[in-house]
Structures are given as C-alpha cells and as structure tokens.
C-alpha cells in the first residue's frame, strides 16, 4: 500500500532518460514559452507527489500551460513522441492519481482558473483549475451553490473532482460529481478537442460523460466543466446524537433511512476519533459516547422543522443516549467543525496516518467497526474512524510512524485487511478517493482478470497507446499474481475465501 518503488535500476536508464528529457523539452519549446517548462529537479520537486506523499516520482518534465491551444499542442507533441502525460490539478488527491511518470510529462492545469456563473440556467462554466469552494462562493450572491463538497474543497479543483468523481458529506441527498456535472470539455490524448455531455440533460449516443467522470485522467484531459448549481436551502439544522455502543449507532443509521428520511448529511465518528477532534477544535462533542452521529436536515424552514422532529423521534427510538439539535448556524458549523477536521486532528495525535476509503452496505457498519477493533489488536496499531455513514463510506485512519519500517509494514497489511473485508461484506475498495496507485493491489481482489481486461479495453478505446496517466487504476496481471502470492506467503490471507473474524 505504502512506499512504491519508482527507482528504475536498468543499466543505462539514467542516460536514456536524460536523452529523452532533452528531446521532449526541445519539442515542447516549440509550442510553449520557456518559463512554462520545468525540468530542473529543484523546480519539479513540488510535483513529485500528490496528497499521498508516501509515493514519489521525480517528473521528467512539468509543463504549465495557460491556454487550451497550448494544452492541445502539448498533447500533440507528447502523442507524437509517445511520452506519457499525467494531468494534475491542485494535487490534493489521496490515492496517488497524480503521481508522475518517471519518463513522462506532468501537465499542471493550475492556471486554468476562470469561471462564469449563469444564474438564469443555474449553471457555472468553470475552467478545470478552479477550486471547488470558489464555485459556491461565486454563486452565493444568486442564492445558488455547487453541491458536492469534498473535505478538501478549499483547495481541490473541479478538474480533479471530475477525475475522481468526488463526493463529500452531502452526497447522500445531492449526489456525487457525476450527478452535478452537465458537460466536460477537454482534449483526447492526441490533442483533438472533445466535449462530453451538453447543456441539455442528455446527449445522443453512449453516455461517455459517465465513463469520463471518475476515470482518473486516463481517458481524456479536462479543461472546462459546466456544473449544475442548485438553490441554496433556506435553512439547515444538524442533530448530534450519542450512542453507548456502536451496534446501536449502526442500527440508528439504518433506521433513519428505513423511515423514509434522506438526511442532507449523516456522519458517524467513533470514540477515539471524537476525542482526537475535540482536542483539536473543541466542538463540544460527547466524549463518553461510543459513537456519535451527525444528522442534518436542510430545506425550507417548514420542511426542516418537520424533518428534524421525525429524525429526533427515530434516533431516540434507536437508543440515542443524548441528542442535541443545533440552535443556530454558528452551532451547526461547530458540530461540523470536528467532522471536517478529522484528518488534521489525526495528524495531531500520530506522526503519520493512512486514510482508507472503502464503502460497505450500511447495515454492516457495526460489524465493520468490530472487525477494525480486532485488527487493531492483530496489527498492534491504533485506528480512529470517521464514516460517511449515510452512504456506507468509511474513512478509518490507521495511525503509524513512517520512520518505523515494521510499523509501516503492519499498517500496509492493516489497510489491505480493511479493504478486503469491505469487499467481502459486499462493498468496494474506494468510495471517493479513487484507486490511483495506492489501491492497485486491492483492484486484484475486487475484480476478476476478465473485468480488469475490460477496463483496459475501455482505456484503449480512448487512448490506444496508453499515454494518459498510465499505470493507474488497472493493475497488470503480473502484479495481481504477485500480490496473491505475497499474501499466501506472508500468511495474512491463507484462505481468502474464509471469513476471518
């Protein structure tokens, strides 16, 4: 999971790479100003990794275009020379989707930061480098906003959101990036301009927009996105409910849904996480509870009133030991402040943490938490848990010290165990962070060889030479074979078909 060997030790490789680098720079210099081409190590160092910092590769060349024409020209040059291209937004991705290729070009799209809000059609047309939150800020004067709100929304870009099909805490009710994007404009690998989707609600032919969103930059390069804006709810209120044991908290989540309620957000934190974030932001969380739920309602004041009453009744019946409803916006934001700071708070209690992102059916939440508790014992590492409980998306944060090789190794096994358990419980290895390079091994567990071959077929339909972000998402047959062997060898998965609780 962690630590990828990117050093290529074939004799003569460095010489060949240096030669390749010179040729690539020379060809790019015909289509770009010199200042937009970086290749010295000190200049390219910031591009060595995304937010998955354990994986680093020094890029051969980094380009910083500021027009679509330049993007097209760069792609044409790279396509002709068969140089891999890795598109990059803000570099906030958590799965190494923007990890550079050792003989490739990093296409930084940070300069594409223009946007237009159309309050009449309730859409925003934004360049790929615009930050997620900037869209909602620009739309706010019209009473509109862009719904998907990944936790990194102050920094992450819409281009990256499209690549990852990002979610957020409100996607149970408002959907993922996929549900909120109308049109993507960009370029195919050979530099030809292309548009997926349209300003209408559908387009003729196959729904290519669906396959491009979430394709982790492997099918096309996105330069401009038209997103839906929705009217800002007049009011939002949040319930904070405490539970004495995780089983009743898990059952409460199922019960809310069973009663026909679709909360605007439904989040769970376990006791260890609650303690960590409360120390970090002082959100007045109930530190005695085994788990707390945040359950939000939004809409017109009448709707919210009706729904909050209903939610309270359901949560009480599910055995909540304490319930608090936000009185005003300040208190609502305080409730959320802890949840939104879960990751930095974990950084405060451990030198390093590894964030998992699997999704399981809601009804298995408590079972999963129990399994993680046993894994803490087995791997001798602590794990704190935040869940997008409403949609079963888990973010266990495994705490470890990267300086300690043995701990790091146990952390890898711990993470793999969580992902494999999630698949066995009927879930998936990644809910919103993407596969990137981080979860390549886990893809071997979730998909058959034929399914992985079909993914590769999709990739080649768009990019026959496999130049766009190669090596991500789809593991090779060889890698999967090695992964299977490694597990049997190390004894972590002696009988993969058996339950391991």
């Amino acid at each position: 999971m962690l630590g990828m060997n990117t050093a290529v030790s074939v004799p003569g490789f460095d010489v060949a790479r240096a030669q390749r680098q010179r040729e690539t720079i020379a060809a790019l210099a015909d289509v770009l100003p010199r200042a937009a081409i970086l290749y010295r190590h000190e200049d390219t160092a910031p591009f060595e990794c995304d937010a998955l910092t354990a994986y680093r590769t020094s890029p051969m060349v980094v380009v910083l275009p500021d027009t679509e024409a330049q993007v097209a020209a760069i792609l044409k040059v790279c396509h002709k020379m068969e140089v891999p291209v890795v598109a990059r937004g803000a570099g906030t991705g958590l799965s190494g989707g923007a990890t550079p290729h050792v003989t490739g070009v990093v296409l930084s799209l940070a300069k594409f930061n223009k946007m237009t809000i159309d309050p009449v059609s309730c859409t925003a047309t934004v360049q790929c480098g615009v930050r997620n939150l900037a869209i909602s800020e620009a739309a706010a004067p019209y009473g509109l906003y862009y719904a998907p709100d990944p936790s990194s929304q102050i920094a992450c870009t819409i281009g990256g959101n499209v690549a990852e099909n990002s979610g957020g805490v409100h996607c149970l009710k408002y959907g993922l990036t996929l549900h909120n994007v109308l049109r993507v404009r960009g370029f195919m690998v050979d530099g030809e301009a292309v548009e997926f989707g349209s300003l209408a609600l559908d387009s003729p032919g196959l729904d290519l927009l669906s396959i491009v969103i979430g394709s982790e930059g492997m099918l096309a390069v996105t330069t401009e996105v038209t997103v839906k804006l929705i009217p800002k709810p007049l009011l939002a209120r949040c319930i904070m409910a405490s539970f004495r044991d995780i089983e009743s908290a898990g059952a409460a989540v199922a019960s809310v849904i069973a009663h026909g309620i679709i909360p605007a957000g439904l989040e769970m934190m376990d006791k260890a996480m609650t303690a960590a974030v409360d120390a970090f932001v002082h959100a007045d969380y109930d530190l005695e509870a085994a788990a707390i739920l945040l359950c939000e309602s939004d809409g017109t004041p009448e709707e919210v009133e009706e729904e909050i009453q209903h939610m309270e009744a359901v949560l009480n019946a599910a055995g909540a030991s304490r319930i608090e409803v936000s009185r005003d916006e300040a208190q609502r934001l305080k409730f959320w402040s802890g949840r939104k700071n879960a990751f930095p708070a974990s950084g405060g209690i451990s030198p390093d943490y590894m964030c998992m992102d699997s999704t399981i059916p809601r009804k298995r939440l408590a079972e999963m938490l129990r399994a993680i508790q046993q894994m803490e014992v087995k791997y001798e590492l602590r794990c704190v848990n935040v869940f997008h409980a409403g949609d079963g998306n888990l973010h266990p944060l495994i705490l470890f010290d990267a300086e300690d090789a043995a701990e790091m190794h146990r952390c890898e096994l711990f993470g793999a165990d969580i992902l494999e358990t999630s698949v066995r419980l009927g879930g998936t290895v990644t809910g919103e962070h993407g596969v990137g390079v981080e979860k390549l091994n886990s893809m071997c567990v979730q998909f058959s060889a034929a399914e992985r071959a079909q993914f590769m077929g999709v990739k080649r339909a768009f990019d026959p030479l496999e130049l766009l972000n190669p090596g991500k998402v789809i593991p090779t047959l060889h890698r999967c074979a090695e992964y299977g062997k490694m597990h049997v060898h190390r004894g972590a998965l002696p009988f993969p078909e058996l339950p391991r609780f």
Partner: protein, 364 residues
C-alpha cells in the same frame, strides 16, 4: 450472479456460439420499446427467463433485479416498502423489463428534479461479446473503483453487451404531493419555470401543452403546502392528477398517439433535448414540453434536417421517436472524435460485433 444458473447458462451458450459464428443477436426483453432506435436486426436473444428481484433491502435504498424482471414486479416489490424508482421509467406497453429500461435509458416526468436512470444505476452484471460474465459497480452508492462501466450501459441500446442484472438506487416515496395548473401560453410558462427553477421550491415535474402548464410538487407536507400557497394556480384532484402524470410518463396521452394514417401523412414525433432555459422554438406543428423546458416533444411534418438544426442551434439534440421516414437516422449524428470513441468501445466490448448491430448508429 452465478453462471450455474440455468437461464444464465443458456444465455452464455447462445452468446458463445454467436461469437464463434459471428451471427448478430437481437437482445429482447418485453419488446415494448422495439420502435425506439434504429431497426432491430439479428437472431432474437430472449433475456426474459433471467428474471427476479435477487436482493432488496429497503434500509440500503438499493435493489438488485435480473434483466428479464418485469418492471411492474420490481415496482410492486418497492411499493410494499414505500419506495420507488425516482426516475419514473416510461412504459409504452405492458411487459417492459428492467434490462430494457436500462438499455433504453429513458426517464419520466421527475427526471429533472430527481435524476435519470443513469443517475440511479449502481452496478451491472453483463455478458460481453466474448461471453464473459463481468460485474461492474456494486450495491453501494459511493464507488469509484475502476471506470463507471455500469452507467455506460444506460441508453447503450444493447450494443456493448447483454445486461444480466442491475443494482439501482431507490428512494422513499414522497410524503406529500400536489399538482397545480396554470392557463399560460408557452412563453410565460417557460419564463416562469426558469425563474422558479432557481428557487428552493419542491417542484418535482412540469408539463406544458396547449396553453396549460401543470406542476407537480413533492416533498415534506409543510413544504408542499407552503409552495401551493405561494405559487397559486388551480389545484388538481389527487387521483385525477396521478392518472394524468401516468399518461405523460407512458405517453398514453392523446398528443403522443401517432397511428399509421398520421405517419402516412408525413407527421413524426420528435424528442428534443435542449437546455431548459431555451426560449420558444418556432417549429411548425405541436409540442408538449416537460422537464422545466429541457424536454420538448414535437409533432411535426418538418424535414428531419430542420428539426435537428433547431435543436442543435440551441445546444441540444433531436431524436426521432416515431416517423415513417428514418432515412436520416433516429439519433442526432455525433462528432467524429466521439464516434471514434464509440467504435473503440464497441471493439473493446463486442469485437465480433454480434450485439444489436446498427441499433444505435450505423456501423456500431
């Protein structure tokens, strides 16, 4: 889904031998949408025996059904638990199946408010053109493991593979509903819908036809009551309103009826999908406008090129739903770069080109 299942085993056999012999297959469910798309060709591959809701847990808001499951069986199962398919799939005749619903990808009146079929598909199991049984997506809402192949199947008209089962996100039925009616001309209706669309109102469906705008509100009791008061108009009686929206969904309203005689006169029914804010489109003929202006059904004798042009000029596209003259194609042509991606995908999923050849576009 197991290949040991007899109905599935038979399908795998049929696809294998079609693949070996390179004989085209015409994938058939209930046969209720054979009029949609280019003409079907090939030996029939009956998916109906692959039937039944295989997994349904109301608290997960997810249902999995095999492709041949009658839509009415699926909806009855959901209804027992107060849930529904929010995208209101249309049925043009009794007997439609879940597989056909996904392959056609058509959504009903609530589409603009609640999303389309594609928005609610979470996973599929399919047979590709090499007779391999593949599963993509799953039964959870948030899932970004690999490309979103399951949603690519929606509206693909079977050209990429045989859909074997589908997992769908479902929603609780709405607590309260009301239908309001306004006697407004097209311009006023479109202009008002556009304005209301930017406000937090529980508008769930809209339809304008012959000077009458109807709006369906849906949501919490208090929200629907407040919106009724604010928007005005005349409130329709509940059961009459329900029946009327069904007639829109299933196109059993008189507007949509085009018999042989009318076809012979050169009249066609077109579906124009355009940005909702598009002002009046001055085509000859009669229209029925849904989805807040984003879906405009058009009965006209105008030349296909004129209809296509009218849609394309405003950033939309036109589909020929019913018409005698199909010589200019059913679906709007796509750009060469998109067509290359289509051809690449066809090659990737169905290299022997056995599935529904030509049903979506010539050559696919």
């Amino acid at each position: 889904m197991s290949a040991q299942d007899p109905a599935l085993a038979r399908l795998i056999d049929q696809v294998s031998s079609a693949c070996e012999q390179r004989t085209p297959l015409d994938i058939c469910g209930g046969g209720t949408k054979r009029f949609y798309g280019e003409l079907p060709a090939g030996a029939p591959l009956d998916v109906k025996p692959l039937s039944g809701v295989t997994c349904y847990e109301p608290t997960e808001l997810v249902v999995t059904a095999r492709a041949g499951t009658p839509l009415r069986d699926l909806e009855a199962a959901l209804q027992e638990h107060g849930q529904c398919l929010p995208f209101e799939p249309p049925r043009f005749a009794p007997g439609g199946t879940v597989g056909g619903m996904v392959a056609a990808g058509l959504s009903g009146p609530a589409r603009r408010a609640l999303g389309s079929v594609r928005d609610h598909v979470l996973g599929v199991t399919l047979l590709n053109g090499r007779a391999e049984l593949l599963t993509f997506g799953g039964q959870v809402t948030k899932n970004v493991a690999g490309y979103d192949v399951s949603r690519l199947m929606v509206g693909s008209l079977g050209i990429l593979g045989v859909i074997c089962d589908v997992s769908l996100k479902v929603l609780p039925m709405s607590v309260a509903m009301a239908t309001l009616s306004f006697e407004w001309d097209e311009a006023r209706a479109l202009e008002t819908l556009c304005r209301w669309g930017a406000q937090p109102l529980p508008i769930n469906a809209t339809a304008w036809h012959r000077g009458l705008l109807r709006i369906r509100l849906s949501g919490a009791r208090a929200a629907v009551a407040a919106a009724c008061q604010r928007l005005g108009g005349e409130r329709l009686e509940t059961s009459a309103a329900h029946a009327w929206w069904l007639s829109v969904r299933d196109q059993s309203d008189e507007f949509f009826f085009i018999g042989e005689e009318i076809l012979a006169r050169g009249e066609s029914l077109w579906r124009l999908s355009v940005p909702a804010v598009t002002a009046e489109l001055n085509l000859s003929g009669e229209q029925f406008i849904e989805w807040g202006g984003a879906q405009r059904w058009w009965r006209t004798t105008a030349e296909p090129a004129a209809v296509r042009d009218a849609a394309a000029r405003v950033g939309g596209h036109a589909t020929l739903m019913k018409g005698a003259d199909r010589s200019s194609g059913v679906f709007a042509p796509i750009s060469p770069v998109l067509m290359r991606a289509h051809q690449g995908l066809k090659q990737a999923f169905d290299p022997a080109r056995i599935f529904n050849p030509g049903r979506l576009y010539q050559g696919l």
